[in-house]
Amino acid sequence: MKKLLIIGRKDLTLAFRDRTALLLMLLAPFLLTLGLGFVTGRLSGGSSSGLGSIPVILVNQDGGQLGNALVTVFRSPDLASLVTPSDAADPAAARQQVDADKAAAAIIIPAGFTGSIIPAAGAAAGALPAGEVVRIELYTNPTRPTSVGVITSILDEFMGQVEVGRVGGQVAVTQLVGRGLIKPQDAAAVGAALGARQAGANGAAAAITLKSTVSGSAAASFDPLAYMAPAMALMFLMFTATNGGRTLLTERNQGTLPRLLISPTSSAQVLGGKTTGIYFTGVAQMAILILASALLFQLRWGAPFAVLILILAAVAGATGWGMLITALARTPGQVSTIGSAITLTFGILGGSFISTESMPVWYQALSKITPNAWALDGFTTLALGGGLTNILVPVAALLIMGAILFTVAVVIMNRRGLMQP
């Protein structure tokens, strides 16, 4: 294990002393992000977003104040460019639409949703509704994780406001009764008034709109750079991975690999060390790009720990590809050529330039062979406010991808005697 780390550290040092590699690892993705930032208006004061017109179906069976408020939120001018809502009466039909990839998600607001939170005026004593809150159903399309992330974020924001209002109202009524400021028999009426106010009655609809929230609402103001910055970083991560693999063949040619193999170091340690080197370099590259964009563009990447986990997983996936390409190539030049082609192809296929969600289903399915697509889903989810639990699928997919590709690469290398001089 110690030798793996020593070889890995050596390769990391060499990678960061290679000016050409540095240009492609750090400068190129940074400049492309910057350029795309201007193109999309993010850095020039415009408001164009990388995502737009996300189709969402609203099934409002509630018809109460809160249900209507939620529909109003999705139809608000603030979200007009981001989501394209449509109405449906039947939940089953809405789910079918999602299954058929006609929409990114269906939001089904069941009957009684408002009533389960706000007591009806003149209700019996006890002030607030008894029993469980009726839950809104969010039926999502797994092939559109980024869009789903946006919808989920808007919905979470709304529900957060409702929950604040509900609990706040409950506490307020309890306090008022406890201090004798209102009579117990008036609690229901007061609670209803509070709830109605919170729900948007009396012209107070703004109280639960996203625009009015203190946080500025991540969902409503989705930052296009939150998509572009990881997209570019991931595209050039593939360059780092293939370039790292290339060094294995370069070392073979320059005689350092044979020299390693006649030291008291096993070929498995050498291969593991080289892989560790690619991994270290990829993690360093991603970390630098993320920190730089966070500092220079004030880009919010999301929960730091979850971002770290996603970086580690994304680099594992990319490293697997780097090793596989190295195993299949015969010369360092071939690795460079194939690596450049793969970097660009994966960039396009994985959504680095155009979100795959606007592409056909087969394209979206194909994009999943790239670490770019999985990692981009994860980074977008995190940027939209998601946490570690929301990115478990992409993280698992990337780790599995890395493990499988590495194993296949080792088998091919052994068959070809690549770890022989």
């Binding site: 030798k3 020593i6 050596k10 040092t13 060499l14 002393r17 290679d18 320059q254 005689g255 350092t256 044979p258 020299r259 390693l260 193999l261 006649i262 030291s263 008291p264 170091t265 096993s266 001089p421």
Partner: protein, 317 residues
């Protein structure tokens, strides 16, 4: 002295090509043993097999009691290797290179740091230790290449043509360092196609050609094989007709006292009982053919003559 290296019927084939053909020899602890032979004779392949880089096709070798086929890891702890080609990281400094390779030989901590400083001193690069290797001259790189092989104080050091392609000053420094290392008790297996290096350094010499060990012994033992004969070396001008030179050498074979002849581009070697006695006929025959002899060397019995005697070819062929 016990043997630190014992080679038994070692064979290495690459497909149908036999690079090393059933060679056997032993090296005593503390000696400098040279494998002398022309390019492509099998020297590097022999070292590659002995250093566990390649598995032999047949036979085996034991180094400090460890089999190269059965226990390669133990062998690697005992040996140091200075490969013919530079095997360094150009973008690391000499100090960083040595530290990295030291760690590959399980050195670490203060011991590694001290040993790196010691080796830098030994190869005369202390002052430039922190410059990247890519900024070094060819000779300096060679010295770092040798330094890497010394880091873990190997009992047996393989040096594969370490002076190829370097300036005379660096070559001198390397030969002196080989002697110094041997003086400190290190056993050295040195390969070269330079007869002078083998003569200067070696306690014993093995002559290898076409993968076969064709002679083995001390220099005195080997030169005895050619008897008391001398070698007359004729050097011609570059513009001379090769066909005329070949004709001259054919004619020389008929001169009394000539034992063997060999010709290269612009020189010819003639082994004779008494070189002085064939000098006059050689000049006469050259004049008859209009060949201008630029210079003449008369060499007493040496390894070059031994090789010529054994193979009918000059060592530099």
């Amino acid at each position: 002295m016990p043997s630190i290296l014992e080679v038994h019927d070692l064979t290495k084939n690459y497909g149908d090509f036999a690079a090393v053909k059933s060679i056997s020899f032993a090296i005593q602890e503390g000696e400098i043993f040279s494998l002398l032979g022309p390019n492509g004779a099998g020297k590097t392949t022999t070292i590659s097999v002995l250093s566990t880089l390649y598995a032999p096709t047949g036979g085996d070798a034991r180094i400090a009691g460890h089999s190269v086929t059965q226990d390669p890891m133990a062998v690697r702890q005992v040996i140091g290797v200075v490969p013919q080609e530079l095997a360094l990281y150009d973008d690391l400094s000499a100090r960083e290179n040595l530290a990295f390779w030291g760690q590959m030989y399980n050195l670490g901590g203060k011991a590694l740091k001290a040993r790196v400083a010691e080796v830098l001193e030994q190869i005369g690069l202390t002052e430039k230790a922190d410059q990247r290797v890519k900024t070094y001259s060819g000779g300096m790189k060679r010295r770092v290449n040798i330094g890497v092989g010394l880091l873990h104080r190997p009992r047996l050091l393989f040096m594969d043509e370490p002076t190829v392609g370097i300036d005379p000053q660096s070559r001198r420094a390397i030969l002196d360092s080989v002697k110094a290392l041997n003086g400190q008790g290190m056993t050295v297996l040195y390969t070269t196609h330079y007869m002078e290096e083998a003569q200067e350094l070696s306690d014993r010499v093995g002559i290898i050609d076409h993968g076969e060990l064709i002679a083995l012994g001390t220099q005195a033992e080997l030169t005895r094989q050619v008897g008391e004969s001398d070698t007359l070396v004729l050097h011609f001008s570059e513009g001379e007709n090769p066909q005329a030179i070949a004709d001259l050498i054919t004619a020389m074979r008929g001169v009394e006292g000539v034992l063997k002849t060999d010709v290269t581009d612009h020189s010819a070697s003639v082994i004779a009982v008494q070189a002085e006695e064939i000098l006059a006929p050689a000049i006469t025959l050259a004049n008859e053919r209009g060949i201008r002899i630029r210079s003449v060397d008369i060499q007493e019995p040496n390894l070059e003559a031994v090789f010529l005697h054994l193979t009918g070819r000059a060592l530099r062929d």
